[in-house]
Each structure stands twice: as structure tokens, then as C-alpha cells.
């Protein structure tokens, strides 16, 4: 149906010293073709613009005519009342409008971005500390009024954070156990000390890797979920609604989540270490020919119980960090959906980063205590 209309075109003829430009066809977006370029490149004095032969005009056509007329100081003739009304509306709308925020260039931008990043990092650290304080106050309230503790919500999180993570953490741990044992065996074989693979495997998984890898997995699974959940609730004003009803979001949303991670992390970390050792043990059996009974005996001789304690002491602290980073970032969401994504990313990155920093401090601390 549109094909029936003619494309927009114009002819010009000279009357006296100046031109009369006559337009034909449909001055509409669909039929505009290269008219904008041809009009821009038009040279010559224009006295008047004749629109009496056009089939149709829409706002884009009206805009082009208005701009052409303004540029050449020409008069517009031949429009009916509807068309004239349209042209008037478009003329009235001729105001400078920026399309995007003004860009800041060069050095100023670099300095600005570095400054912003520093301020944001500082604010995040202070904010996280404040969030920790607010959570401690909420914990204190619950200690005073234990019946306000959301038992069901917490237990439900146990399932989401803990039970449902067993599969993936188990798979990850068994593979890591196998890799450590295999790599260890290859290197130690050069000294004829393959049997020390068991020392390496047992001590590494119990002290460090079990808990650390679990923390990374939990940060990716649950820390991100916390940030996204709370962030979306913030956007839909659910959290504001809670506050107006008199329910503290800290008690109802944050504490159950953080508690769940704090309690689940040692269990998951222990499970991860155990599965890792089983994986490494299987490899020792298959490729080094160490039977399981010998493996376990050797394990009991070379791995001190303090290694288990080291892992288990770190786990709840890591859990608290991950849970708090997730909830804190979620509560910071404001404005639009894109923020939910950004905050979720920050929650995971911050969680993992802080866990690794703390792990380094723990290593120094345990050496100092003598648990080596």
C-alpha cells in the first residue's frame, strides 16, 4: 500500500533573483530517501517553498521543510490547515536538546575516574563496616528478644545455601583432589618421594583448599543470589514496604541469609576437604598403587588435627564475609535494573577478594599461634 506513494522529491525554478522550490511526493519518513542530504547541499537563494503538490507530510517531512526554510529564510506556501498545524507544532518544538550527557575529555576524565574509584572504594569499606555494625545491633536485638528470630527463614536458607550446593562442591572437590595428587606425584617422583603426596594432599585440602574453594563457590552461588534478591526487592519497594509495616529488613532478610552462610560454610568446607581427600586417595590407589588402608593410616600419621581446626575456624568467618558482601551490595541497589547486575558482580568480586585477603592474615596468625 505504501508503494503507491511517490518518494519525496523537489524541483527548483528561478523567478527573478531567487528560487522557488517545489516539492512533490510523500514527505514522510518512509519515503524520505536522500532528501535530507540534497536539501543540505542545496545552494542558491530560496524565496519560497511550494508544498501544494505533495501527497502527505509527517513530522519528519515538516522538520526538514522547517529547517530548510529557516536556513534560507524562505516562505512556505501551499499547506492546508492540518499541514500548517503540523508545521507549527514542529516549529514550536525546535529547541536545542542534547542527546547524551556532555563527555568530559582527556586528563580531566582520567583523574575524575581515578578519584571516583578511590571514593567508591573508601565508601564501600566504610559502608561494609557500618553494615556489620547494623547487623551486630540486629543480633543483639535478637539475643534480647529471641522469639523475633526468623527460624523458618534461616532453615530454608540452609537448604538453598548448603544442601543444594553439595553436588557442585563435591564434584569440584573431587576433581581438585585428583589434580593435586596427580601433580604432586609427578613432581615428588623425581625425588623418589611419591609417598609424600599424601602429606601434600591431606594438609593442603584440610588447611586451605577445601575451605577456600568452597568459599569461592558459595560466593558465586549464594553471595550473588543474595545481592540479586535484595536488589530486586529494593527496586520493587518491597523493602520499603517492610519498613513501613514495622518489619526490620535486617532481621527478616539479612540475618537469616548471613546466619545460613556462617553455619553452612564450615559444614561445606569440611565436606569439600573430605571429598577432595577421597578423590586424591583414589588417584593414589590407581596410579601410585597405594591401597586405601595404607592411605588412611599414612594420613592419620602425617596430618595433625590442628589442620582440621585451621580450616574449620576460617570457614564461618569467610561465610560471614560472603553473606555480608552479598546483602550489603543488594541493599545498595537504587534506580534501575542495570544496577542489580552491577551490584551482583560487586558482591561476588568483593566477597572473593576479601576472603583471599583474610586467608592471608589467617595464615600468618596460625603460624604465630604455632599451628603449623
Amino acid at each position: 500500500m505504501r508503494a503507491m506513494t511517490e518518494p519525496a522529491a523537489f524541483t527548483s525554478e528561478r523567478s527573478g533573483a531567487r528560487d522557488v522550490v517545489r516539492f512533490t511526493g510523500s514527505l514522510s519518513l518512509a519515503q524520505i530517501g536522500d532528501l535530507p542530504d540534497r536539501l543540505r547541499d542545496y545552494e542558491g537563494e530560496v524565496d519560497s517553498i511550494d508544498l501544494s503538490r505533495i501527497e502527505r507530510i509527517d513530522t519528519v517531512g515538516a522538520w526538514l521543510i522547517h529547517r530548510f526554510a529557516a536556513q534560507h529564510g524562505a516562505e512556505i506556501d501551499g499547506l492546508d490547515s492540518d499541514g500548517r498545524h503540523l508545521l507549527e507544532q514542529v516549529e514550536a518544538a525546535d529547541q536545542p536538546v542534547a542527546i547524551r550527557p556532555a563527555p568530559v575529555g582527556g586528563i580531566a576524565r582520567v583523574i575524575g575516574e581515578v578519584g571516583d574509584a578511590v571514593v567508591v572504594t573508601g565508601k564501600t569499606l566504610v559502608g561494609l563496616l557500618g553494615f556489620f555494625g547494623a547487623m551486630m545491633i540486629a543480633v543483639w536485638h535478637i539475643v534480647i528478644h529471641p522469639n523475633r528470630f526468623r527460624f523458618n527463614a534461616t532453615v530454608q536458607r540452609f537448604e538453598v545455601v548448603g544442601v543444594k550446593a553439595l553436588g557442585i562442591i563435591g564434584l569440584m572437590s573431587i576433581l581438585i583432589g585428583i589434580v593435586i595428587a596427580q601433580q604432586g606425584a609427578v613432581q615428588l617422583r623425581q625425588f623418589g618421594a611419591e609417598v609424600y603426596t599424601i602429606n601434600l594432599l591431606g594438609r593442603l585440602t584440610l588447611r586451605e583448599l577445601g575451605v577456600l574453594m568452597t568459599a569461592i563457590m558459595v560466593a558465586g552461588r549464594s553471595g550473588s543470589a543474595f545481592a540479586a534478591q535484595l536488589g530486586t526487592m529494593k527496586l520493587t519497594e518491597e523493602i520499603d514496604a517492610m519498613r513501613t509495616i514495622g518489619v526490620s529488613p535486617m532481621e527478616a532478610l539479612v540475618l537469616p541469609r548471613v546466619m545460613a552462610v556462617v553455619i553452612m560454610m564450615p559444614l561445606l568446607g569440611f565436606y569439600s576437604a573430605l571429598v577432595g581427600i577421597i578423590g586424591g586417595g583414589l588417584l593414589c590407589w590407581v596410579s601410585l598403587g597405594i591401597p586405601p588402608v595404607t592411605f588412611i593410616q599414612r594420613l592419620r600419621e602425617v596430618v595433625p588435627l590442628t589442620d582440621l581446626y585451621v580450616g574449620l575456624v576460617k570457614a564461618p568467618v569467610f561465610g560471614a564475609i560472603i553473606g555480608m558482601a552479598g546483602c550489603y551490595q543488594g541493599m545498595l541497589v537504587e534506580g534501575d535494573a542495570e544496577q542489580v547486575g552491577q551490584r551482583t558482580t560487586s558482591a561476588v568480586v568483593q566477597g572473593i577478594f576479601l576472603v583471599i585477603v583474610l586467608d592471608a592474615f589467617f595464615a600468618v596468625f596460625f603460624t604465630w599461634v604455632g599451628w603449623i
Binding site: 500500500m1 505504501r2 503507491m4 506513494t5 510523500s26 514522510s28 519518513l29 518512509a30 524520505i32 536522500d34 535530507p36 542530504d37 543540505r40 508544498l51 501544494s52 503538490r53 505533495i54 501527497e55 502527505r56 507530510i57 509527517d58 513530522t59 519528519v60 522538520w63 526538514l64 529547517r67 492546508d80 492540518d82 499541514g83 498545524h85 503540523l86 507544532q89 514542529v90 514550536a92 518544538a93 525546535d94 529547541q95 536545542p96 536538546v97 542534547a98 542527546i99 547524551r100 550527557p101 556532555a102 534506580g335 534501575d336 535494573a337 542495570e338
Partner: protein
């Protein structure tokens, strides 16, 4: 030449025949018929849950009905491939309730999205100019152009959504509760804006609303949705002449009377103004 859209084969822009929509057990529409004529503002009213939004979604092809036949501008919209819908979607604009602006783009860039999609050859300078006058035309201040949707109030989001819906100079405009959530002054200004754009651009407007003032102020015809179908269509006076209890309650209730009184009051003022 005129501001009217071109093809005039039929006077009915939207035709719905025997529409049936249901979700599980719950029947929303059953045997629904309606026609929207070219160049009119067609209002749709109905109680909550009578399927006004579902009707609009069916017409624009976002919702597949169980049965029925829908034509917009002479083309069917049911069971079409997305590529087939592209030509049709150039010819209509849709304003969703919340504005549905793309949150990563500024207001002006939002307006440019349909232009960039369908008219890739447009010079960038013209693109910016078109976005600029559309933004101002819908009543936004000029400094709203480079703002992001999260920086706008609800009313400004609606105006920006309208600017985007009008980006391609469409023939048909679908509006879902355009004045919901606006203050009365803003709502009246929005009504006025729609009326004036409809006049200058020769638009056909399909409008879902709960706002009695909007119905009285700008709708040429109003369809009432109840009992799974359109039970009555006509001007408000014609609807008032029917004796359906829901229609009577809707228009004769306290709010209906107030809206009607304000229109009469305005008309009386106008007459007084012209006489003096």
C-alpha cells in the same frame, strides 16, 4: 495532500473477530468483537481483571489467543513470524504502562532506537534533530534529552515513552493507561497532548484507561469490556442511554458524575468566553 495516513482501503484500522483468551480454567475473552475506525480515539474501559491489557497485547501480537481473528491496518497479527511483523510494527507505536524505556539509554537515545533500527541510512545529524524535536513535542523540557530513565519522574517517563512510540510517525498508537499514576494537572496535560498529536498527525489511538476524565475529554468512542466481551460501544452519551448496570454504575457513580460535570463546566466556560 493532508496529514492523514495514506492507505484508505478500509475505514477500520483494527478489526477483532471472535477473540478467545483463557489462562487455564480462567476465561478472559470469549467471542470478543471490536472495530476501531481510522482517525478516532478509541477508549477501552472495564473492571479490573476484565482483560484490557490482555486485549491490547493480543492485538499487537504479544499474546497468542486461543481463537479468533485480529487485523491491524488490514494485516493479521496472529501466528505471524517476527520478520513478518516488522513491517507492521513500523506503522504502530506502543506506550506501555510504566513507559518501558530502555534503562541503559538516555531519553533521546531511546527515541532514536526505532529510527536506527528501521532507517539505517538516515544521516546522524538528522537522527539527533528528530530525537530532539520529538522530545520537546511530547512536552518534556529540553534538558531531559540526555537524562537516563532512572533520573526521571513517573510522568516524564510516560512522556518519554510516548516520544519513543511516536518516533516513526506511526498511523496507530496504542496506549496502556497513559494517565495512571499522574497527578490531575499532569494527566490533563497528557490528555491534551494526545488529542493535539492525534489531530496534527492524523493518528488512530487505541487507549486503555481507568481515568474518567480522559474518557470524557478525548475519547471519540468508548468500548466497555465485561462478561468476556465488548458489551457496548459508542460515545459516552450513547453508553449512558444503555441500561447495563455496570455501565450505569461506572458513569453515574460519584466519580463519573464529577468528571462529566467538569466537562460541562469547561464547555459552559468556553461558550461564555466566545460570547463575551
Amino acid at each position: 495532500m493532508s496529514a492523514q495516513p495514506e492507505d484508505t482501503d478500509t475505514d477500520d484500522v483494527i478489526v477483532v473477530r471472535g477473540l478467545r483468551n483463557s489462562f487455564g480454567e480462567q476465561v478472559v475473552h470469549d467471542g470478543l468483537d471490536l472495530e476501531v475506525r481510522r482517525g478516532e480515539i478509541y477508549g477501552v474501559v472495564g473492571g479490573s481483571g476484565t482483560g484490557k491489557s490482555v486485549l491490547m497485547r493480543s492485538i499487537i501480537g504479544l499474546q497468542k489467543p486461543q481463537a479468533g481473528d485480529i487485523h491491524v491496518l488490514g494485516e493479521p497479527t496472529i501466528d505471524r513470524e517476527e520478520t513478518e511483523m516488522v513491517d507492521l510494527s513500523k506503522r504502530w507505536g506502543v506506550l506501555f504502562q510504566g513507559g518501558a524505556l530502555f534503562s541503559t539509554l538516555t531519553v533521546a537515545e531511546n527515541v532514536q532506537v526505532p529510527l536506527r533500527e528501521f532507517y539505517k541510512g538516515l544521516p546522524p545529524a538528522l537522527l539527533d534533530e528528530i530525537a530532539a524535536y520529538k522530545v520537546v513535542m511530547t512536552g518534556l523540557p529540553a534538558d531531559a534529552g540526555p537524562k537516563y530513565p532512572s533520573q526521571l519522574s513517573g510522568g516524564m517517563k510516560k512522556r518519554a515513552g510516548l516520544a519513543r512510540a511516536l518516533a516513526l510517525d506511526p498511523e496507530v498508537l496504542f496506549l496502556d493507561e497513559p494517565t495512571a499514576g499522574l497527578d490531575p494537572i499532569g494527566a490533563a496535560a497528557f490528555d491534551e497532548l494526545i488529542r493535539s498529536l492525534q489531530k496534527t498527525l492524523g493518528l488512530t489511538v487505541f487507549l486503555i484507561t481507568h481515568d474518567l476524565d480522559t474518557l470524557y475529554a478525548i475519547c471519540d468512542r468508548v468500548a466497555v469490556l465485561a462478561d468476556h466481551k465488548v458489551i457496548a460501544v459508542g460515545t459516552i452519551d450513547e453508553l449512558l442511554a444503555t441500561d447495563h448496570p455496570w455501565i450505569q454504575e461506572y458513569f453515574r457513580g460519584p466519580r463519573g458524575r464529577a468528571a462529566s460535570a467538569s466537562v460541562e463546566h469547561a464547555a459552559a466556560n468556553e461558550i461564555a468566553g466566545t460570547e463575551s
